[in-house]
Structure formats: structure tokens, C-alpha cells
Amino acid sequence: MNRRGGGLLPRLTSLLPEPATIQRWLRSQAKFLSFFLPAAILLVVLVIYPIAATLTLSFLGPDGGFAGLQNYGSVLGSPDTFNSACLQQGLPCGTLLNNLIWTGIHLPLTLFMGLFLAVLLQNVRGASIVKSLVFLGMVTPLIVIGVVLRFILEAPIGLVPGFFDWLGIRSLAVNWIANPSTLLFGLILGTVWSWTGFSMVVYSAGLTTIPKDYFEAARVDGASEWQIFRKITWPLLRPVTLVIVTMTILWELKLFDIVIGATAGSQQGGVGGAADVLALQMYRYFFIIDYNRAAVVATLLTIFTLIVAVVLFRRLLTAPRRKKRRRLTPSVRRMEARRVGPEEAGGSEVVT
């Protein structure tokens, strides 16, 4: 529809698509919406609107008026959130630092344990049963994991104090639940125990994607096992590591149940607030009907998780442009590929 000259109206209408195109477009939208609508309604009402509402609440005062960054100031300034005195006096450090400490210890340990177990169990008989046992910690409710840890950490019923008592190490033969530093580190080690199943299974799956002949060729060339690991396994597992790191950080930030389970339902994060975490702090504000500060903590938590998620997304979106079709790179590009063979059934590429 390319007419020359003419008045203003025809020229404007010429910018619009043909009625038939609009109709086709509408029909396609309708078709798509009829599939997407139920999900969209649930998402908008119970996820997207609440997120926006929480964000709004975090800027409002208790009277409903605009309060600017006042709530943020009062939450971040509270020793519950950030206790600078903990550098000299030890725990508690506040929720923000506790989440940071948790991540700092838990992340490297689970990565290492998972990779170690995955490599160790690579060619062992009965490995799948051992993996299932290790994975059990992932299946169990986190609140139960918290309770389970009591039977490990608490004196006199728990194993750890009894063990150190038997060894004669008095300083560690204490009730781990009732001491600030042992409580936090005991719980961190407990989460390492329960979460390692995840990194192990994912690493195991990553290992199976490395072609066997890579290893054989390297062995023929006389490379040591450590060299094989350094030069082949580790670099090829990098994308897998990235995914595990992201998932683990997201999980660590949302910790809540395990602290409640291990401290007998105390809402204070255990002795002196030593194992207090952001999610628990949000819950505390919530149940004293201090919605605004609850919203602030929730928003902070969301900012952290979104940063982590976006970093992963960017890496996954840009990776294929650098190395096209490299087999091991999990890439959105491959998700985008229109046709994938049916043998890929049940699989998906990437997920945060």
C-alpha cells in the first residue's frame, strides 16, 4: 500500500497496517493469551502486584504517608541489621553480616564438597546409592533439618559435644546451640551438609557431558590426575559452577526455616541473635505489624537476589556470542534454537 501524494488522512492510514494484518495479529494474540491467561492472572494477583505493593510499603510511614528513605535508614541503622561492634566483641553481627558470613563459608565449602564427591564417585560401584543418600538432605524440609541439627549440636543429647568431650577438647565440648559462635558456625556447617547433595548431583551431571576420550587422550599423553583435573575437568565445568554458585547464593539469602528449627521456635535467631538472618528479621517485623520495615527488609533481600540472578542471566545471554555452539556452554541461544531433537526430552537448558 504505497500511495504517492494524497491528503494527510490517507498518508496517516498508510502508516497503519492492513486490516487483515491487524486481524491476524489479534488472532495470534488471542491464541497466545488463551494459553497464557490463567498463568498470567495468578502471577499478577499473587506475585507481581504483591511485589509492587511491598516496594511501595517500604517507602511509606506507618500512617500511610510518604516517608522517603526513612524506613531504610532505621532498618540499616539498627544493630539487629548491622552490628559494627561485633568486630571487637564477636557475635552477634546483625542479619546483614550473618547472611554474608553464611555465604562466605557455605558457598566455597559446598562447591568443594560437591565437586569432590562428584569426582570421587565418578567411576565407583554403587555410586548412585551413595549419591541418593547424600541427596537426602535436599529432599528433607528445612525446618526438619534444623531439628535434626539439634541432635547433632545440642548437649547432652547431640553427637558433636559428646565427640569433643571424648577427644578431651573442652572448648568445643559445649552446648553448640547455647553459644553464639558455635551456634552460627554449627548451623552453617549443617547447611553445608544438607546442600552438598545439590552441588554434587549437578557436578556429576556436568561430568558426564565431558567426552571420555578427552581424559583418555590426556592419560595417553602421561598427564597426572591433578593435571587432568586442572586442565580439563575444572575449565569444562566452569559453566556448571556458575549455575551452582548462583543457585546456592539465592538459597543462602532466603534461609529462614533452619534457624527456627534449630532454636526451638525462638524468633530471635538463637542466643543473643547470633544466627539471625534477614528473612527472620523480616518475619519479626511482620508479626509485630510493622509492615513498613518488614517491606524494607524484604526489598533489600530482593535486591540482593536480583543482582545475583541478573549476573547469571547476562553471562548466559552473552556467552554464546563469544563461543558459538560450544557443546558445554549452557546457553539461551540453544533454548532459542527452533528445533531440537526429541532425544533431548525432559531437558531444558538453563534456569536460575
Partner: protein, 416 residues
Amino acid sequence: MPILVIAIVAVVIVSSLVTGFAVYYLATPPAVGPVPVQVIGPWAGSEWSKFKPVLDKFKTVTGIPYQYTTSRQEDLTPTLPISFQAQQSPADVIFMPSATIKQYATRGWVTELTTTLSPSSYQPGALDPLTVSGKIWGGAYTGKVKPGFWYNVSYFNANGFQAPTTWAGFVSLLWALKNKTGQAPILAGDGVGWPLSDVTEHFIATYGGAAMHQALAQRTLAWTDAKVQAVFQNYLVPTLQNGFWTQPLTWNDPAVLASWWGGTTPPTHPLYFMGSWITGMVPNPNDLGVFSLPGGASTQGIVFAADYFFVPKYGLHQDLGKRLAAFLGSEAAQEEQVKQGGHIATAAGVPASAYPTVDARVAGLLQGKVVLADLDDTIGNPFQGKFWSELQKLWATPAQWQTILAEIQAAAVAQP
């Protein structure tokens, strides 16, 4: 293939319908017989079996059945405001600390009981913690005294130990016990924190005096004040630093009884600080001895912690709730409760003969002392939770007592 599809769709539809209907029908249980009054109290196990006769008596007197649920105060603290905000209540009568009931009252969540309960049928002042400008928002039930250290009399006699009468005597008793067993002589109760707060209050009420305890409860005195610091520095903290206390130990019957009371072997931690409910927990209450901290200020106090109840505004049956409230405040109900042992009445007119002998001994400790309300119950949450967890920290790291007092003071100031 079509059969498979039909089968799947059928399974899904049927299971959805079944669960849907199940949820719907279970959500509205059909009423059979008279409507029960719903009660939430903190007592479980042996404690509950002592409260049950009271509710049974209510049922015989009024013909109203009851439904009792155990829920600790720590569990109710987060859930009650949330359900009241939704204009719901989990029960018709709920036991909570007095300060919490008053907080709820200011939010309009509590039914007024001014016409239901009368201060004249109570011991003087028993309803004061629940009264705001002439309006009564809840009732006092029976209470417990937190008198001091409990011990096994037979064990003490057999080994030549005696209850101390001076602070120096107390300290030397602790050393003697420690030398005998090679372990910390005092068993510190519970990993949650309230037994530690009871201990701390006892030290304050004894060596700081009744007035200091009251001033701290009214928050007119700072925890960082030199007088308060002196009580910690000279009395409580040294006992912690000398290793007289065990790690805070969660009460589980066999372990605590064996290490404090003894059994087949002599006790390893022969002293235990607890409230008077302990009289119902030992195998032989007549062998139970108790002493308060010796020496101390001229006007000492002793903590008497009553249990308080209220009728929430959003309960399904407020009329039933009010009738039960009136009953729980009556002489008849409280007499039934004190008979069971471990409780002391707040209602007027309960005869001394109703108490078991052990409790009569406990009542003797009250002689000449000012009766005080529980400090952290009076202030309420969120101070209370913070206070408990700070005291747990004190037991773990006594050297930091000054920082901990500063933290407690900060929590007291922050309390609305």
C-alpha cells in the same frame, strides 16, 4: 492413546475434586452437640494433666464442653497479632502475659471484662497489671513463685551440706559442691531463656532489693546504672566466671532429673534454679528442699508470676469465653488448681488447707518479702525475647556482661 489421555484427565479432575471437597467440608466441621469453648494455654504433658481437672470442673458445673490446645507463648507471640489483624482468633480464651494483653487491648483486639471479673473477689492488686484507667482487659489465674535453688534433701544430709544463710556461705557451698562432684554445681535451665531471666531477677530482687526490681520493670531505672551494674559485678557474674553454672540445658526429663536430682548415681549438678512448678516434676516432692539467695538488701522481693488470660474480640463464642473467664477467676476453679500442686491462687478465699505441704513450704519463703510481678512479663515483647537471648549470651560469655547490659538497656528504651 485416547484412553491414556482420558485416564490422565480423569485422574486429575477426580483428585482435584476430591481434595477440593475435602478442604471445603473439613473447613466447616458439622457441629455435634453443644458448642465447645476453645482454650489455648501453655501447658503440655504433666502440667496439662493438672489443668485438666479445672476445665473438667467447668464442664460439670456449666455443661459447656471445652477444647484445649497447647501453645507456648513463644509460638503465640508471632501468630496472634497476625490472626487478630485478620479479625480471626484461634480460641475464645487465651493465656498470655499481662503486658501483651494490655498491648492487644490498645489495638482493640480484646473484649473488656470489667463486668465479668471483680477486683474484690481477688487478692488485693491481682488485677492491676490488666487494668487500664478503670477498665479490666483480662483475668489473673493462679501463679508460681520463683523462690530460689532447689535441691535433694537426702543428698544434702548424707553429704553434710546445708542451705546457706550468708552470701559467703553460699559461695563456699558452691565451692564445696564443685569439689565434691568435679562439675558445675548449678544446673542452668533451658535453651530458650526464661529460666535465666528468673535467675537474674532473683539476684536483682535480693541484692538490689525490691525497689530496684520494680524500677527496672517500670523502666525508670537504666540497666547500665551503677547500682544495677554492682549487682551483676559483685554477685551474678562471679558465679558465672567461677564456673558454678552448667551450660544452659534444655529440660528433658531423664537427663535433667538424673544430673540434678540423682537416681541410680548421685547428682552431678545438685542445685537447680526453677519456679515452684518443679514440685510437680520430681519423683518424691517431700524430699525437695529450697533456699533463696542469702543475705542481700534490707527490703527484698520475690517474684510471683501469675498466669493471665483474656477473651479475644474475634473469638467465635465470646459469651462462652466470658463464662469461662469468670470461672477461671473464681475461688472454686483456683482451689481445684492449687490442689494439684505447684500453683498459688490469686483469687481471694482459697483456704490454706487446699495447698499440698510442699507448696506451704514455698509460701513460707514469701514471708517478709515484697511480692513482685515477673519483670520481662511486665515489659512484654519485643523486649522479652531480646532480654532472654541476651541472657543466654551472658551465660555463654560472662566477661561481656557490660555490653550485654547495654544491649538490654537499648531494648528497654526501644520498647514502645
